[in-house]
């Protein structure tokens, strides 16, 4: 199952994050794909900030490019925001607490191809790309494994143009 949404701005990205958030729980893994500048970090930041706003907490959500992994404790459970771009081989993932973190946290993984054989079978693949029109971007959601039925409901929740194939 996959959905393709066309989002017109970062504000709409945040609305999508807000609609997705209530469904997320530890053990859920979102793999964020797309070229540099597509908005992967912005999407992850929107999810984490939305959760913090609900918790009434205030904390930095910096880019994980240099630190590789940023962990956040929230009332929904731990969030793990990772950027695997700089990794050279998947053995280094063990040092970063993969794959155990897939069980314990809500994972937001940028450059997931680096996961190799550690990629969890059950995951939500979020593919982002910018469109030629100013501010516009495509976000495609593809589900793998069980427990993602709610993704189909996002169309109503977000009020954005959505194509479900």
């Amino acid at each position: 199952m996959h959905s393709r949404l066309v989002l017109a701005s970062e504000v709409e990205t945040r609305h999508l994050a807000k609609a997705m958030l209530p469904h997320l729980k530890p053990g859920d893994c979102l793999l964020l794909e797309g070229p540099v500048g597509a908005g992967k970090s912005a999407f992850a930041r929107a999810l984490i900030q939305q959760q913090m706003a609900q918790d009434g907490t205030v904390e930095d959500v910096p880019s994980p490019t240099f630190t590789l992994v940023q962990n956040y404790e929230t009332s929904r459970g731990p969030f793990c925001h990772a950027d695997l771009y700089r990794l050279s081989d998947s053995t280094e993932l063990i040092e970063l607490d993969f794959p155990d973190v897939f069980e314990s946290a809500i994972c937001l993984i940028e450059w997931p191809a680096r996961l190799g054989s550690l990629k969890p079978e059950r995951h939500l693949l979020v593919t982002l790309d910018i469109r030629a029109e100013p501010e516009m971007r495509n976000i495609t959601l593809r589900t793998f494994g069980q427990g993602w039925e709610w993704v189909q409901e996002l169309e109503a929740a977000t009020q954005f143009p959505t194509n479900v194939a």
């Binding site: 701005s9 970062e10 504000v11 945040r14 070229p35 540099v36 500048g37 597509a38 908005g39 970090s41 912005a42 930041r45 929107a46 984490i48 900030q49 913090m52 706003a53 205030v58 904390e59 930095d60 959500v61 910096p62 880019s63 490019t65 240099f66 630190t67 590789l68 992994v69 962990n71 771009y85 700089r86 990794l87 050279s88 280094e92 040092e95 970063l96 910018i130 030629a132 100013p134």
Partner: protein
């Protein structure tokens, strides 16, 4: 009258394994007896990014050798140092832990006092090591992973005036270089390419420039550059050399203008300061440095910029931060723990991720 102190510093919070020895006293330019930094950026340029020493083991294997080399270069033994300083955070937890364990082992074996140093304090106090800058001063820390304005009031007192709400400029340079096929590290390559480019040809955004305060944003700039690149590549099937130079020049000018304007505001907000210091790898960029010199001059102060090898991660800056603490009569509890997060300014609300300030809110 403070005694002359000699401190060993250990740094392993990110990709580099480093150890250094400094000697001196606060208020005077310090003497760097050694500064050993083992990094991997040259080896891994082909990857388009530094392959990090994420493995605690990799740091641990090299740390004692780095300490040994630093002491040898300084012509000292462990018995000759007054204290052992180590980065206790923030950073990658595996690396920080390796450094802390190494330092604790050395302290336990020698009976020397331990000093847990905040990595950012190491950067922030470097202008005192190199130029004996008096408190208070304004510091712009601008590197691959950091971008913030700090009013440095004492060895342990920092007020954060603003910072990036998303990417750091060094990251933006690296990703721009990647988008334009220029290689790694991106800073010097984009700067070199920009020399022949026309900075006015492409209209790139100046994120948050119209907003009050000293916060910055560089993530959207990267996306705007990608759009502009794609618009050029699509009809032509590739990117002309001149286009690439113009994109680099336009990008660099955008970063320069944002940093310059926000520096001007930070200087106004900081009140009377003894100097405007800039630290971090991005300070090596000639255009940025020139703009910051102008801003400092216009504000009636001077720009202090430590040499590049003391601006990037190193052990000497950790030793110096430890020396300042020791001179103030401070010694860390030997039971201190490594901290992956450790904001310098506990009073300020975080600039990144505060609910009202989304990346483009």
């Amino acid at each position: 009258m403070t005694d002359i102190l000699t401190v060993l510093g250990i740094e392993s919070s990110c990709d580099d394994t480093a150890a250094g020895v400094v000697r001196g006293q606060p208020g005077r330019v310090g003497e760097i007896l050694s500064n050993v930094v083992w990094d991997q950026s040259q080896l891994h340029g082909a990857f388009g990014g530094v392959v990090p020493e994420i493995a605690a083991r990799a740091h641990a294997e090299k740390l004692d050798l780095a300490v040994e080399a630093a002491l040898r270069e300084a012509g000292l033994g462990l018995a000759d140092v007054d204290a052992i300083a180590v980065t206790a955070g923030p950073g990658l937890i595996g690396g920080v832990l390796s450094g802390v364990m190494c330092a604790k082992g050395l302290a336990a074996g020698t009976g020397k006092p331990l000093l847990a140093v905040n990595h950012l304090a190491g950067h922030a106090l470097t202008p005192r090591l190199t130029d004996a800058v008096a408190f208070p001063y304004l510091l712009l820390l601008v590197s691959g992973g950091h971008c913030q304005f700090l009013r440095v009031e004492d060895w342990d007192r920092f007020t954060r005036l603003g910072g990036t709400i998303d990417d750091a400029p060094g990251e933006a340079f690296d990703k721009t270089a990647k988008l334009l096929g220029l290689g790694y590290p991106g800073g010097p390559l984009v700067e070199a390419e920009a020399v022949s480019g026309d900075p006015a040809r492409f209209s790139l955004p100046r994120p948050l420039l119209d907003r009050d305060g000293c916060d910055m944003s560089f993530s959207g700039l990267k996306t705007a550059l990608k759009r502009q690149r794609d618009a050029l590549v699509t009809p032509e099937g590739g990117l002309h050399r001149a286009d690439r130079a113009d994109l680099c020049a336009g990008f660099q000018r955008a970063v320069v203008e944002v940093l310059a304007e926000k520096s001007r505001r930070a200087l106004a907000a900081a009140g009377p300061v003894s100097a405007f210091a800039v630290a971090g790898g991005v300070a090596a960029n000639g255009s940025i440095r020139a703009a910051l010199e102008d801003i400092a001059g216009a504000a009636g102060t001077t720009l202090v910029s430590p040499p590049l090898k003391l601006c990037t991660d190193n052990g000497a800056m950790i030793a110096w931060a430890g020396l300042e603490a020791l001179a103030a009569g401070h010694v860390s509890d030997p039971g201190f723990v490594a901290r992956p997060r450790w904001p310098l300014d506990h009073r300020a609300a975080p600039m990144i991720g505060s609910g009202k300030k989304g990346a483009k809110a």
